[in-house]
Homo-oligomer: 284 residues x 4
């Protein structure tokens, strides 16, 4: 993969934004590999993602950034530019279930996920040897009703130590304290094993089984202080029928959850997800 | 299509039911075109559907029915046998939206739905000419806050007059009174334009838009006195994204609703749906 | 729906195209409702679609067109601009099957397809009354081995008489002569009842049944002189199993074909489809 | 999972088979956990799968088998009964790609695939450490134009040594010699990375890219001497568009292939797949 810069912008919509930004890029010789735009009528915002071939620019990333700030100021933009050569640092929180974790590690090891996996933190020991084999640090931090505050402090410390860019909850099963959510807004990715907003909270398969739904799903979303209410990145479903008991649903649900989480992570890694209120814009 | 009888059974599970029923059918020369079974561990019930070639039986349907009753008594069965040569009588309740109604009428006219469509009852006039063209009776019964009881009485009278076997709510948008639900248990089919139990009640697309889901759906279910809580027959979803506003969701949702309703009706017509508590067993 | 202009462009890729076009639009006050771009590395081409709010432009469509030609020349563009207020004229060729035709007519009548349906031409009489009811002209032109040239001449005459912008083959089942294909390049939309390139030619369901595939499909494509080889606009599939015989496949296939064709027509009507060699770019 | 016996039968269809078999099972006290039947009109065959709770039978598996033979002879049955307590022995042939192999090993290790994985044989060294970590034997057998016969002889020897019940080609990329196909009829499972019969042979993604299809797929099938022509067990597809180049298709295709192969293996392990000519009946 060739080195590229991703310029991602959100600002109030008005005539001329694309012209301004595109002209700026073109004047610096920038070859746009991919561009996506979205103007949202309901909130009056404009979103833009340009992926620029690094070698085509006549200036350095620093100079680009400095010069672009004038435009950003004029248009009241929230923005950033990321460098594909600097992979994001992911820390994974896991529990006892291995399916999502094994899938992420395998994709990463195969070169299909362009990121650094800095560490796995788990409240159980059982996945250590798998993580070890991948050459990734493993931290076991027990968490229970009595030590929650202390355990979450240890987790927060580790995240800082590893300088995590974002956090993936790979079936972590513990509630993230509000303080941590606020420290990493739009940076904590969770996989919920139901088609949200159906079956919010614990035991979604049991609830799905009792309701007799004909499809079960999974939802990848950013974590906020409101449990299971954060902005949805991706969702998918799989067909079930009366022959499937709760255990079958668990098994089938693993496949959907694994797929949806890995797709959500990819979108995040490629800087394609913009959070807009409690929703996401996916610039693909 | 060759004439067939469909023997549908529900009873407490025990060893030997299939042997007993199959032997009975075989002794009468019955050629089984299709057979499905389901034993449900969670409630200890057994369900069975046999589709028997009518011409293969050495006895009449009446004799079959009379003789089978002994087995039914011995095994504590709820059961019925239906004759494919006697199409069920459907009455459709509609409102202003035409998509589900047009689809049902077209499938019926093309010979793809084996039933009689006895009448369409609507609280609006706008679909009369379409229904007329298909040669189906059309009744306009206005319904509003003031005349609900009287209007529902008229509807009930018409259902009896037409001797309706079952009722399809093709985007009817009115609440069915509990008394009518009880009169036609497992006989009133509704299409809800969301992936239940998400977005129960009115305006599901608005709610879906606000929640930022990435899939919208439709649910075909039997109507009970509990609004949107009846046994689900079928569901499906379609992918949406941030570019879709509420109107797009309405448009896309129509396609899903139309498909799901027609599939649900087909299952009902073929005597494949068994209601078990608040769930369905689909013997396909 | 608000009036809009759709500016659609294809040209050799180079730095600065978006800047140039966007600046041109912005200088005329153009509010871009939606923009899509695609640079194709494999062939070095760039594609662009801008949907501009008509009322926002400070010039007329004629002036816009005239002034834009200078840019088009400089960048070696193939391009056009269409006006949403001037619906395209569709002529439908049909045969005996009603499912696709009924679906298109219903969507059009409900206001979901923004076009004029000028006429239906069929080699059978059976669908006349349905088309009549929709207030659309119906022409019956018998076609057989002996009169092919003459029949196709009559069809061509009718297309010219109705000033057709594009033609939809709604399960037409006859081969379109090469001369007609060349007269309407990228303007004749066919629905093939298989997942092309599987089961090219006649009787795809029979072939699918014999091969024992577990999914059957439908393909919407532009017609070229090479039968079933034209650029694909959209495709979809539906699951089948050993219980489905050929007749079931026909029935299930109708639903897929109907959906895929209507989606393909919508993309065409909204000027989202660009033909690139034997493939399509869909600017959605 | 409770121990069960699976009685699987294929025989010419006639009245009374289910009665006979069900009565036999019931007389021995057999509790049927699950039963599926299929009568195929097109070839006059009948297929049946009964899953019987082992502890409910009043006789041993050997006695059951011996006694059942009389029925099997009378009805000209091909049949077998398998014991869920005796997991099948799988040998995997792999090449350089890890996605299918990693997925199978993980499912097996998690207890989701009930089988023994006896060994992995590969024509490359690169996956050895992953297989070692799972505690599975790894054999590297180089294969090239010059040593094909000898290499295939070594593979055949290993299969016999390990007493393989069935073989999974997890993206093996080498042609299986006809002699090996004949030795393991309906016992060699391959995953082809296209939606067969589209894009038979090598480089399906390149072909799919060139044809401009809007869905790519994967096909799990039994291997026969006719390359890519064997009976299909399962298939699935994923949506692609003009933005996806060949590398994207490779990446997306991996996910579909992995899912479809694991579903096919599960069906085989549970004795649900019956080969009928060049097709399969899946008794689920």
């Amino acid at each position: 993969m060739e080195q590229s810069y991703r310029l991602v912008i959100a600002c109030p919509d008005q005539v001329g934004i694309v012209a301004k930004v595109s002209s700026f890029i073109a004047e610096l010789g920038g070859w746009v590999l991919e561009a996506s735009y979205h103007g949202d009528e309901s909130c009056g915002m404009f979103y833009m993602r340009n992926e620029i071939k690094a070698s085509s620019l006549s200036v350095s990333l620093e100079e680009f950034t400095e010069q672009f700030q004038a435009i950003a100021d004029a248009y009241d933009m929230q923005w950033f530019i990321s460098d594909s050569a600097k992979p994001k640092k992911m820390v994974i929180l896991a529990s006892q279930s291995s399916h999502c974790l094994a899938d992420i590690l395998h994709r990463w090891r195969s070169g299909d996920l362009h990121c650094d996996i800095a560490a796995v933190i788990s409240n159980h020991e059982n996945l250590r040897s798998m993580v070890d084999w991948h050459g990734v640090d493993y931290h076991h931090i027990k968490i229970n009703a009595d030590n929650k505050v202390e355990a979450n402090r240890q987790i927060t410390d580790l995240l800082q130590q590893y300088d995590a860019d974002f956090i993936v909850l790979a079936r972590y099963m513990q509630i993230i304290p509000a303080s941590l959510c606020e420290q990493y807004p739009g940076k904590i990715i969770n996989i919920h094993h139901s088609f949200l907003p159906s079956f919010i909270g614990a035991n979604p398969y049991q609830k799905a089984f009792e309701r007799g739904v004909k499809l079960i799903g999974a939802t990848c979303h950013y974590v906020t202080a409101q449990l299971d209410e954060g902005p949805i990145i991706d969702q998918d479903v799989i067909r079930v029928n009366h022959r499937h008991n709760k255990d079958d649903m668990v098994r089938l649900g693993k496949d959907v959850a694994t797929q949806v989480l890995s797709r959500g992570i990819r979108m995040h890694l490629e800087d394609r997800v913009i959070v807009q209120g409690n929703k996401t814009v996916i610039l693909d």
